[in-house]
Symmetry: C2
Subunit: 384 residues, 2 copies
Amino acid sequence: MPEPLNSVGIVEPQIAEFDSPLQLTSSGVLNQYSLAYETYGELNANRSNALLICHALSSDHHAAGFHSKTDKSAGWWDLLIGPGKPIDTNRFFVVCSNNLGGCSGSTGPASINPSTGQPYGPDFPIVTVADWVESQARLSDYLGIEQWAAVIGGSLGGMQVLQWSTTYPNRLKHAIVIASAAKLTAQNIGFNDVARQAIRTDPDFHNGDYYKHNTRPARGLRVARMLGHITYLSDDLMANKFGRSLRQKAKFDYEFSPEFEVESYLRYQGDQFIDRFDANTYLLMTKALDYFDPAADYEGRLGKALANATADFLVVSFSSDWRFSTERSREIVRALQSNKLNVSYAEIESPHGHDSFLLEIDHYTQVMHAYINRIAGECLGANS
Amino acid sequence: MPEPLNSVGIVEPQIAEFDSPLQLTSSGVLNQYSLAYETYGELNANRSNALLICHALSSDHHAAGFHSKTDKSAGWWDLLIGPGKPIDTNRFFVVCSNNLGGCSGSTGPASINPSTGQPYGPDFPIVTVADWVESQARLSDYLGIEQWAAVIGGSLGGMQVLQWSTTYPNRLKHAIVIASAAKLTAQNIGFNDVARQAIRTDPDFHNGDYYKHNTRPARGLRVARMLGHITYLSDDLMANKFGRSLRQKAKFDYEFSPEFEVESYLRYQGDQFIDRFDANTYLLMTKALDYFDPAADYEGRLGKALANATADFLVVSFSSDWRFSTERSREIVRALQSNKLNVSYAEIESPHGHDSFLLEIDHYTQVMHAYINRIAGECLGANS
């Protein structure tokens, strides 16, 4: 494909190997592990221009650019990351790593467990947002980055940003939390558990040991992804995008093959996903979402939980996002304000639901551009 | 169990057999079929006191009372049906039948197909709301009821009421449409399709012929029901009822067994359902929901579609119902009003989501009581 002018171009994933044991929240330990990551732009001499991107449920370290000249799609946040884009690779050194437990190169359930010589499968420990931040801090050391100009993430990525801001307050100057929440609601946990049950009761799941059986719980993962997609979109958007339109026909056939466009869309999304994602990783990511609740250790007081944060914050939410509603973002804003932190908050009008954080929305792009310009001014000096 | 004072008591389901072919919307034909039904109260001499109850997705003809002295739970609408209750069996003769395609006694996919001597399975034809109304009209003839004092239903049952009002305008004096819609949204169709895909991709589904294999797609049906339950409740209700409470423990175990109360609740609901419901029936019911759209034949104009209705209407919706939102009920009200019909509309404040129509909510009970009192006045005379 012709490379767009403002693209980071061809990028190559890299692997960082770690062999000092990582104690996990769950009491598990990973004695050695790898993190896959990509970088875009150049680290400046005083190492003040580094931005860390934290990814959400189903994405990975490939946030921008292309893996080859024939690569059909760009990284998942290519709209925001590139030369001249809000996350401007002409000015910043941008890092994104695949979360531990992932399936795109970092150590995860499909990786070989050195103590057995077999894939981890169900023996891969539960990982939490705090564990990811710990592993990302070690990656920061590995890359020689003492302090991030900003840590940035949407959805589950936003939870990692919140965790960074309290675990390593001195290692980030700014925190950008987009379409996120300080904890999931019961409804959200419910949706996650339905997805997990679809996967775990698929007979091809084999208690997570499906690699051994040379199969995978594709049916369950497909259903999980279809359900996810409904909750990432808004009711109105689905009404406008699909409504009750039929698929390539004028009348009902009264049969179980897809008749409505929306059925066809969801099944397509499900089918695409099973070819690129590992079911055990999906399970781990949804559990990490469910567990995250920094206020739980402070009698539910989020202000207390965020008390030692020092970064400046940008919090962004989207009007039609019902999975991570604007109210959840406002809770974060109030908690940060109670600690007298510098907080900017933007509620973006968008019909696109939770998916908005991945999309091109003028106001959103402008807000990100302006805030990251401000970071450039502060971290890189006036002439940067 | 001690029989409550205002219960219809022990009731016995009955079966009506039909052997004149029923032409279905789908082009299928059922040459003979049975309808299971129950009745409560007594039909008066001039047959003016009959009420027809239409059931929703997962219920059946057992709307009130108990099947035996040891029966642990009453019929699904026992809160509303009984002596002195809003649907007052001291004054009305109440009929409820199991929809065709059901799994509680009416002919459905698990019934023997007379032309093969085997269960219908996937050969059971797709049935629509219009087909159900046709079969209910025949049941009305069979019972000698020329005109219903009211036809009443919630959710999918409300769709049947709308269909009754236009197909047989002279056969009902009142129509009560509760928590319903004149058509499903794309989001609703999406949820239904996820449920269907969970069932149809369960390896025990055997393309719907699972009876032959002496099995059933219990895993898929369980996931479908879990998902359904999330959408029947409101986000707020789930937050209040479960929140992030843990199940019999103070701390996370970091494992995949249910940790949160909400997981435990949903799995329990799923487990209960698979013991009482047939997956093929679930598929048929969700398809009937998806297809219903009386305005489709009138360029989307619902007023036109309901033009030949003559009944007086009560339309009821619930504030927190996001699966059949109050806006859907208001569309129905506007369409009825455009036809100069007598329409009462009540929007009930309730935190219980779509499930509200099955629950004891003072304002709801009062509205039903008052409206059905009015029906009694009109249909039974002042002294009834």
